[in-house]
Symmetry: C2
Subunit: 324 residues, 2 copies
């Protein structure tokens, strides 16, 4: 294993130093990433977080129109309650704070504990569980939270920026989760810096269907196939769970080690699939957004839009990872 | 080798279909990527291009404030003169066209031929040759063009958007090239779809210093080292050729298969190095911009800014790969 790092133990801290140096719009303190211009009085604060190794999620989505703070844990490890409490108190502008939590047992427990212990701050919480691949998994009771996290953070962030109250921001966040589904396929395993070898063995001839973002097992292991077939497999799983119709927000997301060119090849197939079902790709994203270290592969996330969600998706955003 | 594609022969065409589906601001015709809203009368047109496999370069930089058209060749293969002629004629708004050409023999020849054959269009040309690693290389007489291509496209694109004449746009493009230097380090080889196996052998213990963006050999092969040392090696090469001073634009660029987290680790070291030389990181980019398929590794590109270049760098841009 070759990785660009100084030591496995310092990789999260060292990467955060790089983020701070690269992005003057961020302020980083005690392993929490904040908007440098926050908190804003009267605005609902948005806090998310989770294990590191999924960059740009979450710290790369801190900024105008999205998150107020992100709490990165160690690699694939939940942030500790102290980080979340600190972030929650710091971003409160008097209008309360929304916790956006991916559905993994450790994250859920630590965010719950932090919500209880962040006295004097009104906290609402939304659980993201969009991955249709497995019902329960290695680190989850219920479905895993993956790509839809970005959609929730963007759309709830836009509504918070408009000055909406906490209940409304939480409601739109839940609505986005309910309208979103994801499915991922791995071509290779990820390798964590500490382990130094692939998390799982995957023969050169096979792919893992329904992979999790920590290398958790999916539904099945099948022979490698052309992009068209892999895209159809992922989309069949999504469509089987929430039929595609109307205007869709579609993300083809790279797992970290896959070139952009290949993601565009997949996106072309996904777009053709959507059209074949009589639905429409109304908005889209193609790139590395919710990654799993150096894993090769992709995931697709689909959200059924309505006029309000489209308007909030289109609203200006200014973060290191998403900007328009 | 596992890659997300339908067939090695159709990968460029299929990826362009995906780009067209994902980005309504682009129009793709005969393997040329155009701004859908061009040409603009009275504006200098900017055309670049080169082999595919470096995405988002170049097609991902077509849009407001950057390129008017990009001509993607097959993987690591120059675009043909017909593509370039077609693009040159199509983007001419009466103020002439600037060709931005990376210094590789095939690209240079084909752009030269196209400039001659694009009758009735005034064409100026700028050669990008920022890579300090080697003097001549496998595909080059003189230095290779790498990361500075993005700087040239962005800054010249901004000046063209302001309505400057061709001579001025060409002059600023040349100035950016003269003020920029790059150096890359590979942890792994890339694998082209047609070959299906790594372009070169690199032992698990070694890295290639001064790698080219097609896997061309660099200066030396040395044992893998911590990020701090690799960053210093790259920066020593840059600083040795063009001493760091004043305000710098610094890009830490991933080669395609390297996670963003690792690029931030490298950026932290590069920023510390710059500070140690008494210079300042005034503007920065961290991410996958000028890639080499699935290669793992990074390159660093530095440009010495002045007030004009800073203003043009900061000017609004709206492309799939760069947007602010």
């Amino acid at each position: 294993m070759k990785k660009l790092l100084n030591a496995a133990d310092s990789v999260v801290e060292d990467a955060l130093k790089g983020m701070a140096a690269a992005h003057p719009t961020l302020r980083i303190r005690d392993q929490v990433v904040y908007r440098a211009d926050g908190p804003r009085q009267g605005k609902v604060g948005l806090v998310s977080g989770g294990g590191s190794g999924h960059e740009p999620l979450h710290a790369g989505f801190v900024g105008y129109g999205m998150l107020d703070a992100a709490c990165p844990g160690e690699i694939f490890t939940s942030p500790v309650p102290d980080q979340i409490i600190e972030a929650t108190k710091a971003v409160d502008g008097g209008a309360g704070v929304l916790h956006i939590v991916k559905n993994y047992t450790g994250d859920v427990l630590n965010f719950e504990m932090a919500a209880e212990l962040a006295e004097d701050v009104e906290v609402a919480s939304v659980l993201v569980d969009d991955d249709v691949a497995v019902q329960d998994s290695l680190y989850t009771a219920g479905r895993r939270g993956t790509g839809a996290t970005l959609f929730v953070e963007k759309i709830a962030g836009a509504l918070a920026e408009e000055g909406a109250p906490l209940a409304d921001v939480a409601a739109v966040a839940r609505e986005v989760d309910e309208r979103s589904r994801s499915f991922g396929i791995a071509l290779t395993s990820c390798t964590t810096p500490h382990a130094g070898k692939p998390t799982f063995d995957l023969p050169e001839t096979d792919v893992e269907l329904g992979i999790g973002i920590h290398g958790e097992p999916g539904r099945a292991r099948v022979p490698m196939a052309p992009a068209r077939e892999l895209a159809a497999t992922a989309m069949d799983a999504v469509h089987g769970d929430l039929p595609l119709r109307g205007d869709l927000l579609v993300m083809v997301n790279g797992m970290g080690g896959t070139p952009l060119m290949e993601l565009y090849v997949v996106f072309a197939e996904v777009a053709a699939y959507v059209e074949g079902k009589g639905a429409r790709v109304s908005r889209s994203l193609v790139g590395n957004y919710v990654t799993s270290l150096d894993m090769q592969g992709f995931s697709v996330t689909v959200c059924r839009l309505d006029d309000t969600l489209t308007r909030l998706w289109d609203a200006p955003v200014d973060t290191p990872g998403l900007r328009w």
